[in-house]
Symmetry: C2
Subunit: 279 residues, 2 copies
Amino acid sequence: MTTHNTAPTQFVEANGVRYAYRRFGAKTGTPVVFLQHFRGGLDNWDPIVTDGLAVNRPVILFNNAGVASSGGEPADTVSGMSRHVIAFISALGLNQVDLLGFSLGGFVAQQVALDRPGLIRRVVLAGTGPEGGESMDSFTPLVAEHATQEVPTEDNFLYLFFGPSESSQAAGRAFWKRRHERTDQDVPSSMPAMGAQASAIAAWGMVPVSNRYARLKEIQQPVLVVNGGNDIMVPSINAFILQQHIPNATLILYPDSGHGALFQFAERFVSHVTMFLDS
Amino acid sequence: MTTHNTAPTQFVEANGVRYAYRRFGAKTGTPVVFLQHFRGGLDNWDPIVTDGLAVNRPVILFNNAGVASSGGEPADTVSGMSRHVIAFISALGLNQVDLLGFSLGGFVAQQVALDRPGLIRRVVLAGTGPEGGESMDSFTPLVAEHATQEVPTEDNFLYLFFGPSESSQAAGRAFWKRRHERTDQDVPSSMPAMGAQASAIAAWGMVPVSNRYARLKEIQQPVLVVNGGNDIMVPSINAFILQQHIPNATLILYPDSGHGALFQFAERFVSHVTMFLDS
């Protein structure tokens, strides 16, 4: 059986776009499709999380159009990214999947759940927030600087995804090691892909003139919202807001952690997500 | 082995107060002491929760002084209640316990953790909030009316502890049945006990002039905060505030539920608490 570190990168084509993905884990069960954060590719996940969830279900890692090893033009709206996800899932011939969206991937997961409810069984939203959320219209200058380096370093991730405490930083370094164990890593995303995604994030973060959070009420699926208690990229209050407005949402916030809480508490996250997906 | 429904009510005396309690479950492990809500006695817990947690540890249900079957004068401050908890735990000869405090019991659990940190290993806070929390200085008239009936009815609990949805109300009725399965129920709390507790709750809820939430930073123990997403007795935002200010706190909010979420999702709550206490 293949794993996070051994599953080959595969490609599937739809509407002229060649989407990169990896599939591994159990042969049966509702597959869980992983939707990645800003600039991230197939190797920006934690093997503990992906292999942990793959024990009981197929896991599918996915690069949106124009991101890392995927072909096509990068979408510059969350709606556009959602359309690519739907095209990709359909191209694989899957009738229903679970989504696990992290950060920007969480924006996209919400949009897919709204755009094609019948396709999505359950949704896990990590380190993310609602459209027009609280303080989501811009990054602080320091966050922006760390997030936009041409070649992101371990230090950038330690700052953006983990808390300042020694234990959080140590967890970050351990994650960084795990995430590099695979020898044939995905290619980095291009600078144009970064630009398109930055546009999508900025537009998603803008507070609407009226009906703020109204669309969250339309999300039909059971949702698990997870974050660290002190996320400097998508402020943690947004996780609470998601729970308050999505009709069937459970919230879990971890201590002493930030955006990358799902990697800092990888085993615990796997247990919580497994309980949620199997309940 | 005795259970929630068969464990005899026992008494232990300290400083002239005769405290009522029940102990059951595993013989070894750190005992978890249950601290009850406004007016509640030994039978206001859910057997699924108490027996579920008793599988792996001793469970101790406790009536504070002057409450239900306990003797003594009811304390009219949270500090006073905390002193009774400490006296009780010491009288049992226990060196260290976990606390599970629900609502008013959660106020007391926080206070005990601050007053005698060495005695407390871990804390579960359900349906509760910090001293001087958000909208905790008074109840709405309807909540006050339902909460102060001389003989509280099923309808009072369905209104106060559960949400308006059919599924939440059905869970409430199922809880009400389970909670009455034991044939020799604890006596109700007196009206003077209610008055003393109401004073303690009102004082705890007053927003301080300065240093709001400052004492939460001093709580050393790992804490699990749990509530329903729509608590009309202790507004759910207070669970978020607890998570944000207690240094090592995890937050879980359940969907479509209120104050009694720990009973509505009794099995899930047992799983989450077990994971927390054993981690």
